[in-house]
């Protein structure tokens, strides 16, 4: 009986289960955040007023756009972190690309055994806690950290350099955390590259720079784009790195949201910032993805 049931409904169950889960634990929370972002803050548990209230047989709507107006009123406090997040994430992505491309290239072009070793070397940090590695970075960059002590011991500097709480420390933290994410898609597309194209170009007299710019780079472009997205997206909303390594100048949206939520306990404003983050990061990318999906469907039709 069970087999018959599964045969009949199996397909529908397979589709419905994940749809249901993601609907409840992903879509609903987003609607909830939208709702709270229009609620009024209050003292109490939870620290916001419900948007709808049912009282003496009537529904009352008590929404407000105050939270968004607050973001506008103090736009320097919020707009600055928006720009900062985009800038720090963008430059971090570029730095990751600069190092990841040669690494991926080297891995893709080495002998199988050596390739395995190099791949393990890339994967190892990826599998280990990034928080712990960031903590190690603090020990290196601190005023009484590894680098400063070494430089003073060598007599190169008299007083310690300030490296923590600067753009530099944030970039290093981002590279440390996200470099493997950039390497893997690059490696995938570089290892699929057809050697005969490169050889043909070389036979026809193309210089190595030319070969790189006209053949290798264009053919690895999908990997570049995938890698950049994998780094850029989490970097924009990053909280841990600016919190541990950045100072007041490296304020990012993720950290602002965290502070509003945990320190100021202003959940409605935190929700409004979350909506802002979604508008800046997620919606543009989802829109692009939606267009891709539609194109796929048109092709399969």
């Amino acid at each position: 009986m069970l087999t018959g049931f599964l045969k009949h409904y199996g397909r529908r169950i397979v589709i419905t289960l994940p749809l249901l889960w993601l609907g409840v634990f992903f879509l609903l929370p987003l609607l909830e955040i939208l709702q709270v972002s229009f609620s009024e803050a209050r003292r109490g548990v939870p620290p916001f007023k419900p948007l709808w209230e049912f009282e003496s047989g009537q529904f009352f709507f008590q929404g407000t756009v105050e939270n968004y107006l607050l973001l506008l009123d103090y736009w320097e406090d919020y707009f600055g972190p928006v720009l900062n997040s985009l800038r720090l994430a963008f430059i971090s992505t570029l730095i990751c690309l600069v190092f990841a491309y040669p690494m991926a290239w080297w891995i893709a072009r080495s002998q199988p055994q050596f390739r395995l070793i190099l791949l393990i070397l890339v994967l190892l940090p990826f599998w280990t806690s990034s928080l712990v590695r960031l903590y190690a970075l603090i020990g290196i960059l601190n005023t009484n950290g590894f680098i400063n002590n070494a430089l003073i011991w060598l007599g190169l500097i008299d007083s310690p350099l300030r490296m923590m709480q600067t753009d530099l420390s944030v970039y290093l933290g981002m590279v440390l955390t996200y470099l493997p994410l950039m390497i893997l898609p690059l490696y995938a597309s570089l290892s699929r590259l057809d050697d005969s194209l490169v050889e043909a170009a070389a036979d026809l007299g193309a210089k190595s720079g030319q070969i790189f710019l006209t053949i290798i780079l264009p053919l690895s472009l999908p990997g570049v784009i995938a890698g950049c997205l994998l780094v850029f997206i989490p970097a924009v909303g990053e909280f841990v790195i600016p919190a541990l390594l950045g100072g007041p100048d490296q304020l990012m949206l993720g950290k602002v949201l965290w502070t509003e939520f945990f320190r100021n306990r202003d959940w409605p404003v935190a929700s409004a910032i979350a909506i802002l983050l979604l508008l800046v990061v997620t919606l543009p990318i989802l829109y692009a993805r939606y267009q891709d999906v539609q194109e796929d469907e048109r092709e399969t039709r």
Partner: protein
């Protein structure tokens, strides 16, 4: 010409590897440091490992993190497999676009937003049906499974798409039934991807600070939450010790796993 890698490329690559490994090396060395100061070397000692063995807060958090990562990886893998089957095998079906958007959106969501939104949902649900009462390990598992399944779906989907469908066709022609085909052919073929997906989900969960901070309750602090609060307070050499242990443990598993993988593919290696 491009068979050999130009030296400039190698140099940049080596710097890249250095960026990844210097912090790990320094941490590993200083985990054996006698002194409490990170920067001053005062002789070799196992002091911080001993201190770690007596630190119930850190060890308890480690246990919770492993439990959460284990269960959320299981959930992620099951649901990720279902999603992958939908996309690869079912062709066009009602809800395909919805599932496609819903399963890719968590991949492009900032963690702070995912965490906050899930917390708000849990609070609203508690108000409506009394579940979940308070937040703890179960809510963290649900949160981690939700974004984990989107990653495992991508991994399993890739393998399922590359799989040779003729084997299944042959089995069907020979009279095998669908459940039998799935268990004896499809599952073994995609097993490496399932394992890879499970490990990915496990790592993402084990490593997550932000989402767990939002949806955890009192008494359910995971290892990253405890480590983060300790790091914020200042230098704690026990972190060096536990970090080194994590890295050693992970290295052990990764090396074993890649040796098995390497042995299982002799033909590719000869090429």
């Amino acid at each position: 010409m491009f068979r050999s890698v130009p030296w400039q490329v190698k140099c940049l690559a080596i710097v890249g590897f250095g960026l990844l490994y210097v912090p790990i090396m320094v941490m590993f060395i200083y985990s054996f440091n006698e002194s409490k100061l990170v920067s001053v070397w005062a002789g070799f000692s196992f002091k911080w490992y001993a201190a770690l063995a007596g630190n119930e807060q850190l060890l308890g958090a480690l246990g919770k993190s492993l439990t959460i990562a284990f269960w959320s990886a299981n959930l992620s893998t099951i649901f990720g497999m279902l999603i992958a089957i939908c996309f690869v095998r079912f062709g066009r079906f009602r809800g395909r676009l919805a599932l496609s958007l819903l399963s890719s959106a968590p991949l492009v969501m900032p963690e702070v937003v995912t965490g906050l939104s899930l917390l708000l949902l849990f609070i609203a649900m508690e108000g409506l049906f009394g579940w979940p009462s308070g937040r703890g390990i179960d809510t963290i598992i649900i949160a981690h499974a939700t974004f984990g399944m989107c990653f495992t779906a991508v991994v399993i989907q890739a393998r399922l798409r590359d799989m040779d469908k003729d084997i299944e066709e042959a089995a069907r022609d020979l009279g095998a039934r669908q459940p039998y085909i799935f268990l004896s052919i499809t599952l073994p073929v995609i097993a490496p991807a399932i394992l890879a997906g499970w490990l990915l989900a496990f790592t993402l969960s084990f490593d997550d600070l932000v989402i767990a901070s939002f949806v955890s309750g009192p008494g359910s602090s995971t290892l990253p939450i405890v480590v983060f609060s300790k790091v914020r307070l200042g230098v704690t050499p026990e972190i060096n010790a536990i970090g080194s242990l994590i890295i050693l443990g992970v290295s052990f598993f990764v090396i074993i796993a890649s040796l098995i993988y390497y042995r299982s593919q002799p033909k590719q290696a000869d090429r």
